[in-house]
Each structure stands twice: as C-alpha cells, then as structure tokens.
Assembly symmetry: C2
Homo-oligomer: 355 residues x 2
DNA sequence: ATTGGACGGGTAAGCGCTTACACACCCAAT
DNA sequence: ATTGGGTGTGTAAGCGCTTACCCGTCCAAT
C-alpha cells in the first residue's frame, strides 16, 4: 500500500480491455440503455480487473449535476450539531446524495464556502446572524438552492418550534411557584435563542409580570460555569434559570451544586435540547426535546425535492418540540437509592484475595 | 428566492462580460500568472455581477485533483465520532481541502463508498471489522490513498493508545482492592475494543489472576442498561466493571444506582473516552481521555502529506491517552454539598408574590 | 535605429465522462 | 424475397474548466 500509485484507470482503459467503446462501458456501469448480457459481463470484469471507478468530476461535468449536497454549520461541537448532521447525512445517503461538510466559526469564510458550493447541487446552511455576509449568501442562493436551517421564519427555511415551548416552559416554572426567573442565553446570537427568549417574555407578559434582562452568555459549558460564578458573586436573586441550551444548564447546575446550592429547592434550572447528559445529572435536567435529527433529515429531503422539482416549497416547515420534565425544575423525581428495592448481592469483603 | 433559477454563469459568460478570454478569467480567479491590474478588476467585477463560481467538477477534471478528502465512519452517533469529525474537518479546512462525509451501518455500502471515493483525492476510513469487504477497500486503496483510522496496528493506520492504558486502568482497580472485574464490551466489534481487552488481560496475567469472560455488549446506552439488568438478574458477582466506552458505563452506573447499588462501594465502574456526561454523573466517571479531536486532525494532515508527497508515511502514529480519575473507581472525590462553603443568598419564601 | 526581454493576454488542446444520434444486424411478418 | 421493427453498439459532440504555448507590445539597452 505504500509508495507510488499508478494513474487510475479511465473509461478508455476499460473499453480497451473489454474490446468495446466507451459508450458501452458507460451504459453498463450506469445500468442505462440496452446492453447484451455477454458484453455487460465483459465490461464488468474489465472494470473490476482495473479497479476502475468513474471519476466523479468528469461524470458531474458531463451530467451537469454533482449528486451531492452540502451542509454548512457554524461549528460542530456539541450534541446538537452532531445530531443534525447525522439526520442530514443519512437522509441524503438514502436519496443517493453525497454529503460535503463545512463548519467554521470564522466570519470571513467566503473561500471555503464557495469551494463547497462549487461542488454540490444544493446547500443547507445554518448561519448565525452576522457570521456570514448576507450578500455572500444571497449571491450563492442565486446560483444554487440554499436552504436555511433554524434561521427563524423565512420562506427558504426550516426549523423547530421555539416560542410556544419556551412560553410553556416558563409557565411551568411559574406553576412551581417561581417568580424571579432569568433567561440565560443571548437572544442576539441565534434566531433560535431569540425565539425562546420571546416565549419567555410572552409568558411574563401574560402573567402580568416584569421581565428581567437576559443573561447574555454563549452556548458552552464554560459559559455556564462563568455565569454560575457571576451569580454566586453578584447580588441577583433569581429562583429559576431558563437556559438557552443543555450545556449551559448542566454546567450551571454542577457549579451551583458544588457551591452548596440545592437544586431545585434553592434554584430551578431548565435547559434545551435534551442531550444525553440531561438524563444523568442529579436531579435530572428538565429540558425541551427537539427532533434535531429529523430536522437534519428534513433539510436533506427538502433540498432533494427542491433539486428534483426545480421548485421551492412555499411554506417553511416547523417541527414540534416536547417538554421533558425531570427534577431540576421542581418536579418530583423517582427517588434514587433512597430505598433499595432490589439489592444485587455483592461480595461482602472486598479485601479478600481472589479465588 | 423561489421558483426557477437561471443556469449558472460559466467562465465564458464572465470572459464576455469582461471583454477578455477565458484564460485570463481563469488566471485572475486563481491568482496565478500575470494579469494587468485594470484587467483583473474588470474580470472580478464581471464575475461578481454574474454571481460566478467556477464549477467544481470542470475545475477538478481539468486540474486532475479534487482538493477534497473523504471521511468514512461506521456511524456518527455518540460524542466520539462527532469529535473525530470536528478535528478532521477543521484540519482539512485549514489545508484548503473540502470534506465529503459518509457514515453507514450497512455492511453492503459499496455504492455510496465508491461514490465518495470518486470525488475525493484521499480517504480516511474507520471501518469495523467485517463491515466492509476487505476486497472492496483494497480495490479502493489501489486507486487512491486510503488511511485507516483506529484500525489496530497497520502501516496505513493511525490511532490512539489502548492496551497500556487499559492495563493501567485495570491495575488501578486492583489497587482499590477490586478482585473480580468484568470487561464490558465486545473485543470482536472493533480493534480498539480488542486492544483494550488485551490490556485488561495483561493486567490480570501480570497479577497472576484469572480473567473472566468479557461481557459482549455493544457501544450504546441501551447496551449498558440491558447489561445492568442482566447483572441484577444473574448471579455474577463482579466488584468492578471496565467498560469499553463511557456511554455504556454511564448507563450502567445510572441503572445500577436506580436499583439501589452504591457506586463505587458495591461496584466500581470505569469508562473510556471522557465524554461530557462523564463529569456530570455522581460519582463522576473514571475514564480514559483520548485526543479524539487530534486524531481526526492527524488523519487529515497525514492524508494531506500523503497526497502532496505522493509517498505514504512509514510508521503508524499512535496518540497517547490519559487516565481521568473521578469517583466511580473508588477514588475520593470532592464532596458535593456536604458542607455549603458559600451559600448564595436566595429569597426565603418562594410562595410570595413577585415584587 | 535595432534588438531582446518582460509583460499581458489569446489560442487551443485536453481532462474523462454522458448521451443524442446513426448504423448494422437479425428475425418476424408480409 | 422484401420490408420493418427491435437490439446492440459505435461515433462524436459537448460539459466548463486549466494550462502549455505562442504572439504581440512596449521599453530599456546597445
């Protein structure tokens, strides 16, 4: 496997080896047109013997399509993006499309993005406001289908429901007697965050309550921990925290517990996304489950329909979410190890030597 | 943005608009060769006005390279693959390479894999044994550089250290007085698992202890929970569980705790990967941190060197790991909320009306 | 005044495929 | 025997780029 590699075989080499024309080779390999069974076998064998693989670029050039879609994400850390990607890729694969991927945090990502756009038939983009020059994106959109994911309400967009869920979640916290809630997250960082914050405000308005300023933090655990210390050191006195995502929430939960706070008694905490960690904290994290994987799949299929029909769907699709109640909001949780219902028999003394 | 889209502009259109030949357009856009400043500006403006983007397929065909690398993963659920991907993509992007992605669980994935291979210059593959017909893969390897990731020791492979770490971890458990350990994971499912199991065995051999059969479970939380119930129902009596990854470990931990077991007193548990959740369980999960992101980056850069030099590196690179001790193995952990060192002042009565 | 570079840009030959079209060929129907 | 309709295959024209090569200009040096 080491060392120099011979130039890959072309369709001409296969045609020669099989004693046919390149047109026939192409027909056999694509399975279109009529080819005599004997010929087909000859071609297949020749192709196999030469490790032939039709070059994607030549194929795409001649066929005027790439059979590939692109996905651009602002970053890929965190379970959210991973899930989205999984949904996107597996749906795309089912549709016979390859997936090209781009993620970046740099604002001036023009180059890689254009490189990506040049090799796909359509693009799904999840852009944070300001990250991508809108000019850049609309120039691309004039050239190929560009689908916006989780970008708020726009005709070329799909996403998940945010505002109503946030309102419901906030009202749930009211139901637990909480009166001084803080929204933890920056509404300006992403449309999703803005919509959740809007729901948070709606709930307050409907209850005739005043709303405090949102705590403008980012999306990472570090942001959560930092805010925890800010809370501990400052003189704000919230009794509930509605966090923009689970990572911030669990970090906050952890840091506050380490400082001696009782969750949810002293402070209720909710997250968003229902990531894996949310079911392993003590108490479990109350959060909002979004069908992120489905969202990714929807992006791929929507793009596919757009590509094949040449016509964009009219209405943006909004996927429903589900509130997941665990202990961190104040809901009762199944007690853990308080009673020991079935005790696995274990060896008595661990100090003994092995058998 | 809706509706029919005009055919994208070609290099000819730009040349016409700028009043030059296509060669000049190509030179300007690539930044090679000498072009008068005035001409360059004309071209750039024409290109901008037409939303021109050099078609990737034509470019790749003419230049005989895709400027793209592919990554194939057996699946993408779980933090491990997400991290790997992040490392791969960001390193590739820095090198000016696009990334094409493929993941699948199907054994017969020949089609999508070949489609992927046809549009990249090199391929990084993480294949589970048996999933991919070896014949298929070596045929591809004859055509383009194929780098194996975490595939055990082979010349065309890179990976992370497993055996020594597993041995050390196992011996650490011995140090906690544990004598009846079970390896939870199937050594046949992946080379990584096999190597970890080998280290587990080594430790036993060195201590002159007998080794029990491994519990052959998969990699998911469900596998962990299932095994927990199997343990609870059966009559095995281990005092320590060395799990193949963190997902299995945390699920096991959770399920066993719910059943009333005290971890680590009744049973020690360790994981592998140091995923986010590992630092949020109570007790925290002792595990092995691998530089998975670096591994992904290494895959991209190794592939890049291979592509540019045409020569494969000789020795497989093995990245070092680090054991992360938390409470689940029996190590002391900072007490949580036992004392409340700094108590955040909160409102006394939550039942009060808002201000 | 001649000449030789440097400079700028055009010409054209591919790159490796797909696919419309044309053309043999063979056999059934007349 | 002639005709006509499949069948199977080859011919050739692109697809939209890159790039080697060549050819004018212009100006400094002689």
């Amino acid at each position: 496997m080491t060392g120099i590699r011979p130039r890959p075989a072309t369709i001409y080499a296969v045609a020669d080896a099989a004693g046919v024309s390149i047109a026939t080779v192409s027909r056999v390999l694509q399975g279109v047109g009529r080819v005599a069974e004997a010929t087909r076998e000859k071609v297949l064998e020749a192709a196999r013997g030469l490790d032939y693989l039709p070059g994607g670029s030549a194929r795409a050039l001649a066929a005027k399509k790439h059979e590939a879609v692109g996905l651009m994400l602002p970053e890929l850390t965190g379970p959210y993006f991973a899930e989205l990607l999984v949904g996107f890729e597996s749906a795309a694969a089912d549709l016979g499309l390859s997936v090209a991927l781009l993620m970046t945090d740099e604002p001036g990502l023009s180059r890689p993005l254009r490189q990506l756009a040049a090799r796909v038939d359509g693009l799904a983009v999840m852009a944070r406001p300001g990250q991508l020059a809108d000019e850049e994106l609309s120039s691309l959109a004039r050239r190929l289908p560009v689908l916006q994911v989780a970008a708020g309400l726009r005709p070329d967009s799909i996403g998940t429901e945010n505002t109503a869920s946030a309102r419901e979640l906030t009202e749930h916290l009211f139901g637990h007697g909480r009166r001084h809630l803080v929204f933890v997250g920056d509404p300006d960082l992403a449309p999703d965050a803005a919509e959740r914050h809007a729901g948070f405000i709606e709930a307050h308005a409907a209850a005739g309550m005043a709303v405090s300023e949102p705590a403008r933090v980012g999306y990472s655990e570090d942001d959560g921990r930092r805010f925890a210390h800010h809370l501990l050191d400052g003189d704000e006195r919230p009794d509930g925290l509605v966090c923009v995502n689970d990572e911030v929430a669990v970090a906050l939960l952890d840091e506050l517990q380490r400082a001696g706070l009782a969750i949810p008694d002293d402070l209720a905490i909710t997250g968003w996304d229902d990531v894996m960690t949310a079911r392993y904290t003590r108490p479990g994290l109350t959060t909002v489950a979004q069908p992120v994987r489905d969202l990714g799949g929807l992006a791929a299929t929507t793009l596919y329909r757009w590509l094949t029909t040449g016509q964009q769907e009219h209405d943006p699709t909004i996927l429903p979410t589900r509130i997941v109640l665990r202990g961190s909001c104040g809901c009762p949780e199944a007690q853990l190890a308080a009673i020991r219902p079935r005790r696995m028999p274990v060896r008595e003394s661990l100090k003994e030597e092995p058998e």
